[in-house]
């Protein structure tokens, strides 16, 4: 019910919205919760387990009950707190976790079975019959569990991430935070002031308190305006600091105002990483409920929330309100209600000595012990020495005292300390390096103490930054003492809720203790206490107190559970912003990409690169047809392939040769200028890391190539070897992968093509030779190397000419009866020739396994040499690289099939090896494979079974040398 007065709503701007299909009206400045309360709606949700009707408990992000779903389709957002959801025109919200309706929920029947559904009941049953768990019990449980639902559709709204940097981060813009920010700003520090609310002010916006002689909210607004005008202050409202991380890094989630988020190109939310040299935590405090029977009735809410609805949103949460507490806050609440013209039916103060100066029915030393009204509070029962009295009330404002919002101080494993004076945990100093706490979050509850504390904390933080804080001018404000009589759970029958959302009651905690879940972590895990969406913000301390009581220990020795990031939940889309679709990893395009796509080539991922799979021709209906044709180009005429993705590293210096001798197994210092050599690199553990060719371009100048996959790893490895193992070597290197566009020109007509294309004929460049050439006047490099077993070259030009050169090469190759070839053909060509890729050098093979044991030079040390000599890497019985061809009725080979003796069962004990690469060879007219076979080199000629259970194929294969095509290499050398 809306009441008169200004508050922070704009009555000139009515806002229409829908809840569960019904149309209502609120005002700009409302939250969904305040607007629903104003419209007399009390039931806003259902609890998790018992599906009890629930109303709003709080007025902040800690809300456990009033969770709704907003949006439709890809914009559907479950579990939105009605208490922080800003009302905007057209907002459509729906209640959740109920069927068929919020008012009548079928699963509310669970409430009747509550005696059988106590803490941990599911660990003791549903075990028989065994198969029923997956088939019956679990599906039923899963359907009943959960809160809201995802739409199942991909998110379409934009989210973003960003970095910010500052000297001082102030978390919370209440009185303490505002004072801290101003103090630091005046000292010249770069300040970021963050608050989760839409406006600065914190509790000042919810109270009728004065600061500096003016209403607190007004004072806060003026402070915020002053700060906003300063160039060294950045105010970020609607922003929650979600986590404190190492090195002064804070995570923060910003929700953009609805009207800003709706602009084209604007994000809905931004996840910030704030790097702060120092921080002031001024996050305030959260009020805690009191556990008593049926304290979860709609209409029972925290006293602070009642005041917030009254003062900020000008909404009376009831017409006839009772107030129950154990501090002066109860009196403050009653006074605010009276001032707003709301009837107070009872003021119950648990403190026996309490006095009341208000004209309301007053109960000192009394406790509320029960609440009536299933769909909305109707009456409460008050227990006092004289007996139980029932009082009518449609709203109960309850306060069990305040818990400092110290969550961030726990994010680095800091444990809070128990302060018996305020019956609450307070943060320990230094829990987060560089962070100082101020105000209510350290247990200073008066306004004056917050203002002072903010200025003091800023001064302290500034000192660590080498800045001097100016003398702070502390405004006038209330400074009342905090007088609390701890009250956690009111004794009595009936279920008294601790964790509202997860339906954890005092009984559950006590039962957990009986069953020996006495550690607070055990209790939490056994009962699910504190594991709901509020992460125990409303209930952990009370549950701990109940456990302490049940186990006969004090609260400090019972301990605390740990608060972990995020402070309040953060959408996956926000923290993973930009990664959807292609954004997950950058895309790397070769210079021939456009030309390949224009030829219809499907482009496939190769690391971050894209490479053409094959180049289809009209009439071809299957990739194999294209592949076979392209293999034919290379074997019969000339084929063109872009090989620019291979890593290329330019290596120079006096010790370049010696350095290469150290990283390669074989020797490069003896390589002649103008020649190329194949090299093998090991990891230090003795297994093969990578292979490739290395050309000697000059006396002190080499060009190394790596595989596409390992380019980054090899670069890192070279830097490691140089900087960490051989820093005295005079050698420098830099990646030139992107500098050169490089193309394989392969096949018997490759030389003819190049003779015609290059500005001067190739001449008699020998196999494994290299040199500088020009093409169209452009300086280029030519290497006579081959990955296909044919007479072949690789031609490299500066990348700007890559596109033009590829088009030229492809066209000329076509003129000679060839053309471009893709990865599929490249793969078949190399399998025919027994050349390896990372399918074979998959990290577990030695040089000897792939038949290159002799490439480890005996004359010198190299990385990996010592460990390669370990017995396990050199003894007989290892799996060795072999070639395989089908010899039985089944002609197909599949990679991943395992090898067995013909008469052996296909089980692990008989496993002899496996196939790594297969392809159909048009050259041989049959499938060919490469694989690893135990002692394979001794088994050439044997016939084995290749069994692929997954594809349900079994093929008889003959073992042979990996090199199946042109074994003597004549074609390459010709």
């Amino acid at each position: 019910m809306r009441i008169a007065g200004k508050g922070l709503i704009d009555r000139a701007r009515p806002v229409g919205f829908r809840f569960d299909g019904h149309r209502y009206e609120g005002f700009a400045g409302d939250t969904l919760a305040s607007a629903l309360l104003a419209n007399g709606i009390r039931v806003m949700g259902r609890s998790f387990k018992y599906h009890r009707p629930r109303g709003v408990l709080s007025a902040g992000s800690e809300e456990p009950n009033a969770l709704v779903t907003t949006g439709l389709g890809p914009a559907q957002e479950p579990n939105v707190r009605a208490t922080t959801l800003e009302l905007h025109e057209g907002l459509m919200a729906r209640s959740q976790n109920r069927w068929p309706s919020l008012g009548w929920d079928a699963l509310a029947v669970n409430d009747l079975f509550a005696p059988f559904l106590g803490a941990g009941f599911y660990y003791k049953t549903f075990m028989w019959p065994r198969r029923f768990w997956e088939r019956v019990y679990e599906p039923v449980i899963r359907r009943a569990a959960g809160l809201g639902a995802l739409s199942g559709e991909a998110v379409t709204q934009k989210y973003e991430r960003a970095w910010a940097h500052c000297d001082l981060l102030v978390i919370g813009a209440g009185p303490a935070g505002l004072m801290a920010a101003r103090t630091a700003a005046e000292a010249g520090a770069d300040v970021i002031l963050v608050d989760e609310d839409t406006v600065c002010g914190g509790r000042l916006n919810a109270e009728r308190l004065e600061v500096d002689g003016r209403p607190g909210a007004e004072w806060a607004a003026a402070m915020a305006a002053d700060l906003a005008a300063r160039p060294n202050v950045r105010i970020m409202t609607r922003t929650t600091v979600t986590g404190a991380y190492d090195g002064g890094v804070y995570g923060a989630l910003e929700r953009l105002a609805h009207d800003v988020a709706m602009r084209p190109g604007a994000p809905l939310e931004c996840f910030w990483r704030i790097n702060a040299r120092a921080a002031v935590l001024a996050a305030g405090a959260l009020e805690r409920p009191v556990a008593f029977a049926n304290n979860d009735r709609p209409g029972v809410m925290t006293a602070g929330a009642v005041r917030a609805y009254l003062n900020r949103w000008r909404v009376a949460p009831g017409r006839n309100v009772a107030v129950f507490g154990n501090t002066d806050d109860a009196h403050r609440t009653a006074a605010d209600l009276v001032a707003a013209g709301v009837h107070v039916s009872a003021l119950i103060d648990a403190r026996p000595h309490a006095r009341c100066d208000l004209d309301v029915p007053f109960y000192a030393g009394a406790q509320v012990c029960n609440a009536q009204g299933r769909h909305g509070l109707e009456a409460i029962s008050i227990a006092r020495a004289s007996g139980i009295e029932k009082v009518q009330a449609d709203c109960l404002a309850m306060s069990g005292g305040w818990n400092p919002t110290l969550h961030l101080t726990c994010h680095m494993n800091g444990r809070p300390a128990w302060n018996p004076d305020i019956a609450a945990f307070v943060p320990r100093d230094g829990a987060i390096p560089g962070m100082v706490t101020a105000g209510a979050c350290r247990g200073d509850f008066s306004t004056r103490a917050c203002l002072e504390g903010g200025a003091r904390a800023a001064a302290q933080a500034l000192e660590t930054l080498g800045l001097k804080a100016p003398e702070a001018d502390i405004p006038k404000a209330e400074d009342s003492a905090y007088d609390i009589a701890p009250l956690w759970a009111v004794p009595g029958k009936g279920r008294a809720w601790l964790d509202f959302q997860n339906d954890v009651t005092v009984k559950d905690v006590k039962q957990a203790a009986v069953e020996n879940f006495r550690s607070v972590e055990h209790m939490k895990r056994y009962t699910t206490q504190g594991m709901a969406t509020d992460q125990g913000k409303n209930s952990n301390v009370a549950a701990l107190a109940v456990l302490a009581d049940a186990t006969g220990r004090g609260i400090p020795e019972t301990g605390t559970t740990t608060f972990r990031p995020p402070y309040s939940p953060v959408a996956i889309a926000a923290m993973g912003a930009g990664a959807q679709g292609k954004g997950f990893a950058p895309e790397r395009f070769t210079t021939s990409h456009a030309a390949s796509v224009a030829r219809g080539a499907p482009m496939i991922e190769a690391g971050l690169w894209y490479r053409p799979s094959y180049f289809p021709k009209p009439g071809e209906t299957h990739w194999r047809q294209s592949c076979d044709r392209e293999v034919g180009y290379v074997r019969g005429a000339v084929g063109i392939a872009d090989v620019s993705t291979l890593g290329k590293i330019d290596i120079q210096g006096r010790d370049a040769g010696a350095f290469l001798d150290y990283v390669y197994t074989n020797t490069f210092s003896t390589l002649k200028v103008g020649r190329v050599r194949y090299g093998l690199m090991l990891r230090e553990d003795g297994f093969v890391m990578d292979d490739g060719t290395c050309a000697r371009l000059g006396e002190e100048h080499y060009l190394m190539t790596t595989t596409t996959a390992a380019a980054g790893q090899v670069m890192r490895h070279l830097e490691f070897v140089h900087q960490c193992l051989a820093p005295k070597m005079d050698v420098r290197f830099i990646s030139v992968t992107e500098q050169w566009a490089q193309f394989a020109v392969a096949g018997p007509k490759s030389r003819a093509l190049l003779d015609d294309l290059l500005d001067a004929p190739v001449g008699d460049m020998p196999f494994m030779g290299c040199g500088e050439v020009t093409v169209g006047g452009v300086a280029a490099r030519l290497f006579r190397i081959s990955f296909s077993g044919e007479h072949a070259y690789e031609l490299a030009v500066p990348a700007r000419y890559g596109d033009a050169l590829f088009r030229e090469l492809a066209a000329r190759a076509e003129g000679l009866g060839g053309g471009p070839y893709g990865m599929e053909a490249l793969n078949v060509l190399r399998i025919e020739k027994g050349f390896i890729t990372h399918a074979e050098i998959h990290g577990r093979v030695t040089a000897d396994d792939i038949g290159m044991g002799r490439m480890i030079s005996a004359k010198k040390d190299c990385i990996g040499k010592t460990m390669a000599a370990r017995p396990g890497l050199s003894e007989p019985g290892r799996e060795q690289l072999v070639g395989l061809k089908p010899v039985g009725a089944v002609k197909e080979l599949t990679a991943g099939a395992h090898l067995f003796e013909q008469d052996a069962q296909a089980v692990s004990a008989n496993d002899l090896g496996y196939l790594t690469s297969v392809g159909f060879s048009p050259t041989f007219g049959r499938f060919l494979g490469l694989g690893f076979l135990r002692d394979g080199r001794e088994r050439h000629g044997e016939v084995l079974r290749a069994v692929d259970h997954l594809r349900q194929t079994e093929t008889l294969v003959e073992v042979q040398d990996p090199v199946q095509f042109d074994a003597d290499g004549g074609r390459t050398r010709d």
């Binding site: 049953t125 972990r564 939940p569 930009g578 990664a579 679709g581 297994f687």
Partner: protein
Amino acid sequence: MRFSGWRVLREGLTGNRGWRPHWRDAAPKSEYDVVIIGGGGHGLATAYYLAKNHGIANVAVLEKGYLGGGNVGRNTTIVRANYMMPGNSEFYSHSLRLWEGLEADLNYNVMHSQRGQIVLFHSDGQRDAGARRGNAMINQGDDAELLSRADLRRMVPYLDYDNARFPIYGGLLQRRAGTARHDAVAWGYARGASERGVDIIQNCEVTGIDTKGGAVTGVQTTRGAIRARKVAIIVAGRSSQVAAMAGMRLPIESHILQAFVTEGLKPCIDHVISFGMGHFYISQSDKGGLVFGGDLDMYASYAARGNLPMVEHVMEAGMTLMPMIGKARVLRSWGGIMDMTPDGSPIIDRTHIEGLYLDAGWCYGGFKAVPGSGFSMAHLVATDRHHPPAARYRLDRFRTGRGLMDEEGTGSQHNLH
């Protein structure tokens, strides 16, 4: 007390007054046959199988904090047997079979749910490697199926098939893989061991290992000295420190692995799904939270908490793989301490000290190993012989290079598998 639906019913009708402690909190005696250092999943399981399989019940499990407070209480609850290297293959196969009978054995519902795990692949090369693995699984007697893109579209339609940075080529499904309620596994073993006479001693930290003439004689603890004929170190996340008490330097680096859970949601993900390109895996708990994680933070740590770069990387992977989870909100993140070995596979072995045994180095695969590890470790401690499924988990394999089990092919040096 035997747990059953009838018992729950009876207690419910009589005010739930008959429940008793799930396990007995014991005070340390001065001497035991076997002292197990570490009251986590593996330690409790070892105690349980020592008592059950070998009749050795004069056993103490010493836990420095609360039992199950280490990795068994902070993992992502996945149970699977999809290994291909000899050694791992037979071990995890055995462990999965134990899982399948665990509830009946323990009389404790650990909610082992065989909802199936799908490992996606994103290139022909990954499919071939996946096929090698799947065939190895079947050779071992476990189940595996190769799924096509079309199969996947039918089973898990919410993956991004059309725009993802790394397209989905298919997947390897193990139907018998799934999840279990992690805490319950520790509690169930504790209850089973306790009922068989094992002493479970919480808040008892071991501060020294006593030896004489090359043989173990007992341990020093914060609650006094305890003599023992045999001592087993089973302390994931503290292996190096405890082994150092016996003068050992282990092939282990301890790392942080983070995990995440979202707010509760209505059922949307039925399987366990692993994203081959993004170090990302996800399942949905019975409570409705999406439980997911990624790779190590990649720096040695005992802090059991991580940092944003990996947090964000995990979220990025989720968004590219299944953008329908974007609106799910992360409720909580946490970390566990992973004892990483050079080849990514564990150690169950004797040590150079007679009577001192080591069960360590589970990397990030320890949860599913709990039954198998307990079973095999109990066998080793009781008989001094390696249990065949765990016979390759030798401490000296790195020195000799024999029997390395590098599932990921990243090396048998500390490359952080």
